[in-house]
Symmetry: C2
Subunit: 344 residues, 2 copies
Amino acid sequence: MYLIQHNRLREIGIKIFEQLGASKEEAEIVANHLVESNLVGHDSHGVVRIPEYVGRIIGKPILKIEAPPIKLKAKIKVIRETPTTALIDGDWGFGQVVARRAMEIAIKKAKDYQVGLVAARNCDHVGRAGEFPLMASEQDMIGALFVKTVPVMAPVGGRGRVIGNNPISIAIPANDGKPILLDFAMSVAAGGKIIMAIEKGENIPEGWIIDSEGNPSTNPKDYINGGALLPFARHKGYALSVIVEVLGGILSGVGALADYKGINTFLAMAIDIEAFIPLKEFKEKVDKLIRDIKSAQRIGVEEILLPGEPELKTKERRIKEGIPIPEKTWNDIVEIARKLKVKI
Amino acid sequence: MYLIQHNRLREIGIKIFEQLGASKEEAEIVANHLVESNLVGHDSHGVVRIPEYVGRIIGKPILKIEAPPIKLKAKIKVIRETPTTALIDGDWGFGQVVARRAMEIAIKKAKDYQVGLVAARNCDHVGRAGEFPLMASEQDMIGALFVKTVPVMAPVGGRGRVIGNNPISIAIPANDGKPILLDFAMSVAAGGKIIMAIEKGENIPEGWIIDSEGNPSTNPKDYINGGALLPFARHKGYALSVIVEVLGGILSGVGALADYKGINTFLAMAIDIEAFIPLKEFKEKVDKLIRDIKSAQRIGVEEILLPGEPELKTKERRIKEGIPIPEKTWNDIVEIARKLKVKI
């Protein structure tokens, strides 16, 4: 494990994507996104993705996903629009670039008409969903993102990879500059955790996956051999994921479940708080909510944390100490940089 | 257990509320709501609530909740409005009446401006959240409701009744007239199930509640003696419930957690599908989603069901066979009718 400064990682990322032909804006958005994911501790969505993205740009994808390559200097188009809504076509560009554009449009619409809803199709991996609602909370709005992903989860009562493990994220602004951030997907355990268990040769707890026959399994290899993730809280995770298939998949015009080529489609939302109550009052009430939860009686923890707070604490620490990067990830990045003649 | 025809139950309910001074519209909305809840199998939100509502109308509440009595012939007022949003004051009327009005306004706004968002405060118990988004799906829109309730749940890492077990509901229209309906609250098990275990003298599974000291408990009495419900999937149920405190509680201007007098405040939403894609295409894609999920390989079930489908099946059966009503509930209703000189 290496400890790498976030600025250094970011610069390497930007140079790699620019060298491949990405615009400066694209390279910055994607590198920022990956490094920010590392900073908040979501390493599965961090710079470990660089080799995968590079593969998808040069048409040599590492993962077998039925989707066109990532298009650089993509031309995002609005293909249907009303004062409060838009449907955009991402031209198969970076998902992060398309999601930022979608959220920008939603925020603009919410400024003018109190609510903005933007659906998007034809883009690559949007990455960590939590980044985008935060764009709204930074503008003192409520932001939300509903992301449709490739099917990896079984429905309740069924087996096989039928439904996406679809993430949702909602951000709420607070006075102290630390927004409340919900950011989760619908399975009991993330697919990345199961892959990690395979790499470590460890078993996983019962209840995470079923095997190809639909039996409970603690062998993580059963997941990649025709098994599937299980939804959290059974019917609740299942129901929420089905809803996101519709909000994130069908509203974009592409379709649900396995009915589309690509990695993600999504719906972005922004809500103007002052349509309801004055912003000052809203923030005071959110701060009181935070204080009241934090002052509850604790059991076995030093501090009760709000949703999104563990990530902010990790970020503070990693900005100071650097980001821990596994040797393999670092070597992969160095190798890519070498091949592209990028100084690192 | 008696089997009572739904029409008979509905008429009794209407007469009781009218006799107490409710308007015809109020009486019909509330009685319809309670009987519909029984029909779909959510008996905890059915006619068992009549004694509680009657108590809250006549100022002799059964439950100790810090809230004014239910006001009859309440005058719902819009106190802040934009083309896409409204904040309404329910004048402490029946929650169901206020929620229907809110959803009507949201639908009207979505017809004119593609999205409608209506927050509401000062109302009584809204009942089963699922009823209201269905008003939107019946109009070929997507509907959602986020309801803030009284605190009964512990935050992750804490104990005590800090957060509401806040229900959310989202409805999606489908071609076959059977909408997809998400309708759930944020605890592992509903408070009603724990009360039922107390009545039956049974233990409950570990993981449903903690006692007043924050220890896991299988004794349901620990719940009413200072214990609390636990959120589903730990951080996920906790995060979603905190978000609903904001959407359902703070946006209405009242506040979060224990910071308000009353039972429910909420946010209603309606989204115009045709803002994104043609309705026909949307419904075809939703129907395909339903068919594809249903045709997945089954494990241990006769049929894979979509969210909301178990309720529709129960409704079909109970319309034919009658609604099973426990003797105590029936006797309570008969006694109320007798006192009010209502023929049943």
